[in-house]
């Protein structure tokens, strides 16, 4: 990987990520960027150390009066066997096959994709595969085929787009592999991609329908991604 990303999550966002206080959707997209970005990996380690110190320095006795005592748990715990060997890698999928070749995915996205992605065609040459992570975000893989253009749109909340392969550009710049692009409600933009682009996107505005119901109502044909891309050729 020779390209170093120029768009990163803010330090504040990485701090919340290190604390574990973000939604699952946000945590996943930041985790994927951090895996691709040595700089943010270093920052995250430092912020985890900071969060640890805060944890150790916070006063422990909020619950005035009743000192909780948990020592009755100890015997049950120490009678459990220890793990000598790490758990094996539980998911086999670590890449998405596309017409041009395959794309390796960050670990957490590989896990997400291992359940099988259902792709649907959208306007403008975009394929979208939604994944369900929590009730606070909408998360999806997006594949923009070469020469595609997303219709002009606005966001109701924040939208993060992480580039996994290829590149796209909008009025504000060009984004390539591992770039973490944050757009908020004030941005109106029109992403386009000459060479094609695979992304993972997270929006923090709430869902209108549940995903399951949306799938039943989906008027588009559904494809496994491999077939969807062949059909596009």
């Amino acid at each position: 990987m020779t390209y170093h990303s120029t768009h990163h999550p803010s330090r504040e966002l990485l701090g919340k990520f290190a604390e574990g206080s973000l939604s699952a959707g946000m945590s996943v997209v930041i985790s994927a960027h951090v895996e691709l970005c040595p700089q943010c990996r270093e920052t995250t380690s430092a912020l985890e150390a900071e969060a640890t110190l805060n944890w150790l320095q916070n006063p422990v006795s909020d619950t005035a009066g009743s000192e909780p005592d948990f020592s009755h748990m100890i015997d049950a715990i120490t009678s459990e066997p220890q793990s000598i060997t790490p758990e094996a890698d539980r998911f086999a999928v670590n890449e998405i096959h596309m017409l041009e070749g395959s794309v390796s995915l960050p670990r957490v996205l590989a896990k997400l994709a291992s359940d099988g992605l259902v792709w649907k065609k959208m306007a403008g040459g975009i394929n979208q595969a939604s994944v369900m992570l929590d009730n606070e975000t909408q998360c999806e893989f997006l594949y923009m085929k070469p020469g595609s253009q997303v219709p002009v749109h606005k966001h109701r909340g924040n939208e993060i787009t992480l580039v996994l392969d290829g590149s796209f550009s909008d009025e504000m710049g060009r984004y390539r592999e591992s770039d973490f692009v944050l757009r908020n409600a004030s941005h109106q933009h029109q992403p386009m991609s000459d060479e094609g682009c695979l992304c993972f996107a997270v929006q923090d505005s709430p869902l209108m329908f549940t995903k399951g119901l949306a799938r039943l109502l989906n008027p588009f044909l559904q494809y496994r991604f491999r077939r969807a891309t062949s059909a596009q050729a």
Binding site: T52, L56, S71, I77, T78, R107, V108
Partner: protein, 222 residues
């Protein structure tokens, strides 16, 4: 690995990493009680020797802090108590995988508590378990790669004569690990006990050491 006796004096000898983290964190964590032994020493004893007395001390030092984190994040004392159980059970189970080269014992316990809490909250909110906290914050990079070290062992031993002249050039921490495994022919568990380092640290140092040797003798990473 229970059979290996580790002298008390061996615990006094800490690696630079442990000394550094002790300066930063332990004093505030332990507030006086049993302050001679660092959290790292205790965790290593739990991991290498299944030492329940050391686990008891760790439990006393951390359980109330875990409870406090649980109350803050879940706002529910029953859930916070469940978190103490889950997190300290994970400390016990995963202690053999603790790795000194990847941070202090406090950070290690903090991150695993954060992860258990994240999963607990997702379960309560009935969010799909498509991913869990350990996928989002993987700590097992070294563990996964250490399997490779195991598989390479056969071929590396064949070339030991060739390697011997190079291995003197390794950094001390890596050389003594390579020495334990390949010269003294000890198991990973025996070597970790002999050097008084966590098994996870041993494995990652071994991996780094073997990687450097491989570079020196010109075997390409495949």
């Amino acid at each position: 690995m229970e059979g290996i006796a580790v002298g008390k004096s061996a615990f006094e000898k800490s690696s630079p990493a442990a000394i550094q983290t002790r300066d930063v964190g332990v004093k505030s964590a332990t507030s006086g009680q049993s302050s001679e032994r660092s959290d790292e020493d205790l965790l290593i004893a739990v991991g290498n020797n299944q030492d329940t007395a050391s686990f008891n001390l760790l439990f006393q030092r951390f359980s109330k802090r875990i409870f406090a984190m649980g109350v803050k994040l879940t706002r529910n004392e029953q859930l916070a108590q469940d978190l103490v159980q889950e997190a300290m059970l994970t400390v016990w189970k995963k202690a053999p995988l603790y790795d000194l080269d990847r941070g202090s014992a406090q950070s290690w316990i903090f991150t695993l508590t954060r992860n258990r809490c994240f999963d607990m909250l997702r379960k309560i909110k009935r969010q799909p378990n498509t991913v869990n906290a350990d996928d989002i914050w993987p700590q097992q990079e070294g563990e996964l790669e250490s399997n490779l070290v195991h598989e390479e062992r056969g071929s590396m031993e064949v070339e030991i004569a060739q390697i011997e002249s190079y291995y003197q050039e390794l950094p001390d921490a890596q050389r003594e690990v390579v020495e334990q495994i390949y010269i003294h022919d000890r198991t990973h568990e025996e070597a970790a006990a002999a050097l008084n380092i966590p098994l996870g640290t041993l494995k990652s140092r071994l991996r780094l050491g073997l990687g450097k040797l491989r570079q020196m003798i010109g075997i390409e990473e495949s």
